[in-house]
């Protein structure tokens, strides 16, 4: 069963005289039990798409079914069945943890006793035990993030949306948060749809990744499948300059075992079938051509390489440009 089914979903808005296409038509589906992530730089349209799916923004084109109900015609039914953990947080600074959780549960139609019991249970599970009477403004960043998650889970939704779950957290809190997120599927049976601009986060959490760039899905697959797209290993050769790197790439293209050769700044990036076996012949060929290699690196492809191969930019560059 598909919990998300969207076809050609679009969102455009007017900025002065310009029409900005934030989301240019995305089509994908998410099956029950999956953890699926949108990966892409800021401004790629991840959050906008997610905000449409959780009924906060009306699509300007296309259609979607979320948790079995049409997004446009039955937003109320969609709201009942989904949880949303926004990027910016959601706790009322002056309220206590339990007050906020219980209010949220009651707005979903839970009775006072049910909401209170569920709030306590979630506090326990998300390491917020004993913090129930604290004002949320006194919580640490990691605690507040877990409270946001508890808030999105209070009504036991089958489908949970998380927007940039670990942004702004220190490495230790991030790892801890990931454990909790993986736990959601196991213990709650929840299907998760998240956005992230962190490759390691997508790699650590997602069964399937949709790579989004400039409002379009440019690739889709499991982390392993996406890495296999740029089949083989990557040999990165550092040369004296961009021109020299270009000549090196030209020289090596067509050698045995070389699948692709590209240039990034002053690096020649050579995709080969077996990195460990091909490095020496590559070096030898360049040596014969009189080219000086400053350093060599052999690596298994990362999602960053996938992004680079697909879009011609590194995720970090895309991030800075956004």
């Amino acid at each position: 069963m598909n919990l998300i089914e969207c076809r050609d979903l679009k969102r455009t808005y007017r900025k002065g005289k310009r029409i900005v296409e934030a989301v240019k038509g995305v089509t994908f589906s998410v099956k029950a039990g999956e953890i699926v992530g949108f990966l892409g730089p800021n401004g790629a349209g991840k959050t906008t798409t997610q905000r449409m799916l959780v009924t906060l923004l009306e699509p300007t084109g296309g259609e979607a079914e979320v948790a079995g109900h049409d997004l446009r015609r039955e937003p109320q039914e969609v709201r009942r069945r989904i949880g949303y953990v926004a990027q910016r947080g959601s706790a009322n600074p002056k309220a206590t943890v339990l007050e906020d959780l219980v209010l949220q549960g009651r707005l979903y139609g839970m009775g006072p006793a049910d909401a209170a019991a569920r709030a306590l249970d979630l506090c326990q599970r998300l390491d917020l035990k004993g913090l129930g009477e604290r004002h949320t403004e006194t919580l640490s960043g990691g605690q507040r993030r877990r409270l946001d998650i508890a808030m999105g889970l209070i009504h036991s939704p089958k489908l949970v949306f998380l927007d940039e779950p670990s942004t702004g957290l220190d490495p230790q809190s991030r790892a801890n948060l990931w454990t909790h997120i993986r736990d959601l599927r196991q213990r709650e049976g929840a299907t998760l749809f998240l956005t992230t601009h962190y490759l390691d986060e997508a790699d650590a959490l997602c069964d399937r990744i949709l790579i989004l760039d400039a409002g379009r899905i440019v690739a889709e697959g499991s982390p392993a499948e996406l890495k296999a797209r740029i089949a083989g290993d990557l040999v990165t050769l550092q040369l004296g300059g961009a021109e020299e790197a270009g000549r090196a790439a030209d020289r090596l293209r067509g050698l045995e075992g070389v699948r692709d050769a590209s240039v990034f700044e002053s690096q020649a990036r050579i995709t080969v079938d077996r990195g460990d076996q091909r490095v020496l012949p590559l070096m030898k060929a360049l040596g014969e051509a009189g080219m000086d290699v400053q350093s060599v690196q052999v690596s298994r492809p990362s999602l960053d390489d996938v992004f680079l191969t697909l879009t011609g930019r590194t995720l970090r560059d895309a991030q800075e440009a956004a």
Partner: protein, 251 residues
């Protein structure tokens, strides 16, 4: 919808009562007016152009309306803070009725305003204001209706403008002429004809006139009914605008 309104109302009230000092501060300014400005009117009472009744009977209703206007016009700032914290978005993804999210807040604002007004009236009574129980009820009712209208409009403006600076500019631009043209401090009967004409275009002036009529300084039933009608109308318009804004997607 009613139970959701009640939930939001209770939460808002609980949060407000955690810092009651702001409501006391809200009372200080009207009390200063009462002590330092009202005595100036005493020699004018009964004079030409001044409405019938004692100085306090003329001045206090205006003062209560003024507190109602300024106490509720600025509630949008609290909503803005909640928007920044992500609270509003979190409420909007629940199936709760959008009208309930608005009414719960407005309900709290109106309750606090009514309590403040009652306190102000008590102080004025201690200073010599004579007002019947019916006058109290009418005056508090008028202020409550005004509160419903202005609190809703303030929330609608906050949701639409999404910026504290823009909201402050707008409220100042609207509230100062609205106050001056409603005869809050001095009755418009003292004004030259052209100014009275302008005041007639200002709905708040009818509410102030009705408040004075309720206090018995102008025993004109039609003024009272007209003012109640205008206040009701303002409340309906405010609620309608607020509801629409809360329901609109960009809010």
């Amino acid at each position: 919808m009613l139970s959701q309104t009640w939930l939001i109302f209770r939460q808002q009230l609980r949060l407000s009562l955690r810092e009651p000092v702001w409501y006391i501060i809200g009372l200080i300014q009207p009390l200063i007016y009462l002590c330092l400005f009202a005595p100036l009117l005493r020699p004018l009472a009964g004079g030409p152009g001044f409405p019938p009744g004692s100085a306090l009977q003329v001045f206090v209703p205006g003062l209560v309306v003024q507190m109602g206007m300024f106490g509720t016009l600025f509630v949008g700032f609290a909503l803005m803070a909640d928007m920044r914290a992500g609270v509003i978005e979190r409420l909007r993804v629940t199936p709760a009725s959008r009208l309930a999210l608005l009414l719960g807040r407005v309900g709290k604002d109106v309750l606090m305003l009514t309590l403040q007004s009652a306190l102000l009236l008590s102080v004025a009574t201690a200073m010599g204001l004579r007002a019947s129980p019916l006058a109290w009820v009418l005056l508090l009712g008028l202020v409550a209706l005004l509160g419903v209208s202005l609190a809703s409009l303030s929330y609608a403006a906050a949701l639409t403008l999404k910026s504290e600076d823009a909201l402050a500019q707008m409220l100042n631009t609207v509230s100062v002429p609205a106050m001056l043209l409603s005869g809050i401090l001095l009755p418009m009967t003292l004004a030259p004809k052209w100014l009275q004409g302008l005041a007639r275009a200002n709905p708040f002036s009818y509410v102030v006139d009705a408040a004075r009529a309720a206090m018995g300084s102008m025993v004109i039933a039609s003024t009272l009914w007209l003012g109640i009608g205008v206040a009701l109308g303002l409340a309906v318009v405010g609620l309608w605008a607020g509801k629409r804004t809360f329901e609109r997607e960009s809010a």
